[in-house]
Symmetry: C2
Subunit: 400 residues, 2 copies
């Protein structure tokens, strides 16, 4: 019995940046063998991007390190003539291919779904794109924040008197990654029944609309858009007190909770006159400001204790470093690490889903470009001479 859920699954990963790599990391965490194909030299474009020009170990991108553990790297120039020989050989034994090139690029190189299906009809070919593979935006660049802007998310976030606000993390890409995983795993299950693979297509635009299913349904069926409030109310559709409130030393969130009970804790009965559905929505900015005056006289810890004591749904607002130290995060073991040959010991977020019989595991750091080229090609039956010739011609690279 396999001890990992995807132990017998091989993924040929032609993807780069975030959407594809996060998807294949989620598969790798469950034991899938992931072969990451990167261009010799630069490798995945994400290796060259970071925040504020900071690099771990001097050269390693934190962004890349975050989404590529548990994979091996084969540096292969997909445009080289001999690349086909390599890819076609790998495809014979692969279960899943993941790619997020701009639509049509891989077809032109001979690595489209129709090409690979001919070699292996069981292949599950997952394509990630910004906007799908046809239509008016075909030539547009598809990028996370652009999709947040196009799908109503930025317009629904932030203060009404300020600009629309994108969320401070790459959710369009990450939702895209989860959609690839959803497609790949469902197709894998169906292949057990049917014996054949299929082409899964994920695009960021449709993905982010689906993740705003209730907001879209509300807006479309009432033909009314949400309006951002001018306050710390936490969702443009919610009434007071749902939101973020200041304390002496920080901020607390308060979710759906009886207004009168909150006022009871804060101790100003004049606030009770707002306690009707109409005012709680229409006067939410005014209410937020008045509640905030009260919460700002408490310390975070005291306020949290008082609110939790009467079962008001609330939480502290923490930074990422505070989140790392959070007692529940520590209890869950949600922070882990791996040792990387250049970056050293790297702290990472651990696999988030718990499997009682087949636990997810971190067994490898993110690879260097072409770190496993020789090893992988040998496994697939390429002789040492052939591999040397591939390296000499620049088709393949092996990191030292």
């Amino acid at each position: 019995m396999n001890s990992k859920a995807l132990e017998d699954v091989t993924v040929l990963d032609l993807s780069h940046l975030l959407q594809g790599p996060f998807a294949t990391q989620l598969l790798a965490d469950l034991g899938a063998t992931v072969i990451k194909v990167e261009r010799p030299g630069q490798g995945d474009l994400f290796r060259t991007l970071t925040f504020n020009n900071r690099w771990l170990g001097g050269t390693e991108s934190p962004n890349f390190l975050a989404w590529n553990r548990n994979k091996r790297s084969l540096a292969l120039d997909l445009k080289a003539t001999q690349a086909r020989e390599v890819i076609y050989k790998l495809v014979e034994k692969a279960d899943i291919v993941v790619e997020n090139f701009r639509p049509g690029v891989l077809d032109r190189l001979g690595f489209g779904y129709e090409d690979l299906k001919r070699i292996n009809p069981r292949i599950i070919y997952c394509s990630g794109s910004g906007y799908g593979d046809s239509g008016p935006y075909l030539k547009r660049p598809g990028q996370d924040m652009l999709i947040q802007g196009l799908t109503g998310l930025a317009a629904a976030t932030g203060r009404g008197d300020g600009p629309p606000v994108p969320v401070g993390a790459g959710f369009s890409d990450q939702v895209g990654a989860m959609n690839i995983v959803y497609g790949a795993l469902a197709a894998l299950y169906w292949r057990e029944r049917s014996g054949v693979g299929q082409h899964i297509k994920v695009n960021l635009l449709a993905g982010m609309l689906a993740h705003q299913g209730q907001e879209m349904l509300m807006a479309m069926n009432f033909e009314t858009d949400f309006e951002r409030p001018n306050s710390g109310i936490g969702h443009p559709g919610m009434d007071a007190p749902f939101g973020v409130y200041p304390t002496k030393d920080g901020w607390v969130t308060v979710a759906m909770s009886p207004y009168s009970r909150l006022v009871g804790v804060l101790g100003d009965d004049s606030l009770l006159r707002y306690d009707n559905p109409k005012d709680l929505f229409e006067k939410r900015d005014e209410i937020w400001a008045r509640l905030a005056e009260r919460t700002a006289t408490w310390n975070t810890e005291e306020l949290m204790n008082a609110l939790l004591a009467v079962d008001i749904w609330c939480g502290e607002v923490k930074t990422h470093l505070q989140a790392e130290q959070d007692p529940q995060v520590q209890h869950l073991g949600a922070i882990s690490y791996y040792d990387h040959p250049i970056a050293g010991r790297v702290k990472v977020v651990a696999p988030a889903v718990s499997f009682s019989a087949t636990p997810a595991e971190i067994t490898r750091p993110a690879p260097l470009v072409g770190q496993h080229s020789r090893e992988i090609l040998a496994e697939y039956g390429f002789s040492e001479d052939t591999v040397n010739a591939l390296i000499d011609s620049g088709t393949v690279a092996q990191s030292s």
Copy 2:
């Protein structure tokens, strides 16, 4: 050959609100038979929640309608003595159970993993929670915005001189839903090999940390938190020009793009003096303000055309209603509908992932509470007399 990926999969859905129901809807879209178990009368708590006190058809929650299509409803009082007889019978033939009760509740009722595994060792039992099933936050309410606050997301979103900002959609819950799907489908595949099920546990806290994998990795390994900028820069770790810019008639987003090329379009060479990595990060607020002065003199359409012509990554900022009308959204068929007995024709976001061999489909509207109680119990061999007795005792309800 099954024409739907999960056609032979039965899901017993004991979940409510968003995390569980979205997960089971994703399975139902692929053909899984989902039996939604709800309490007689009120049903799923999400039926009683909406935005701004607005209801479709007078009584139906848009939030509920968004996450429960393609399911049938069995109204069953889980606390009633005879509920065990019903649930245990359903579990015999079920593949997946999904639940998001507070930890321990179902164990006390006899519906925990250990109980159901005894009846069906192949059962895949998925538990969703806010913080896991043990630890210091065990008694805390787990809710979407609270998790955004605790995991650094709110602190990384919005203006530096304003409050932390939660995103205007329920991403913690929705990531939780995707994690349930990831766990359930991987376990389903592994069950083909092993013959046995397992217990999958998902919690919102770890899920949202994993979806900030690169932000967490950056903060933890450099021991520095991100700081929200005082401008429309779109991510606290990014340098100018990445952000949201005003136009005469709206806003546009600009993602990673060569700064000098953007300045070339906007036509003020004095802006070029910022074109070095240090200034682009440290002076991003100042740069944003100066770029915004220029973009505000353009119409959105003209600016978009000029930027796209030189391959700058950009997009319009749209509201939800504008997103519905977006030409690419229309091209993709990303908006669909279903007909509901009370709410009438309901526009919804279509399944977001395309399967070439086993397309996702909307075949049923969200159900009424107990709409299919008799039908389901009959399928599982309960006689009409038994069902009548269950209804008379209040254990089961059938909607009229």
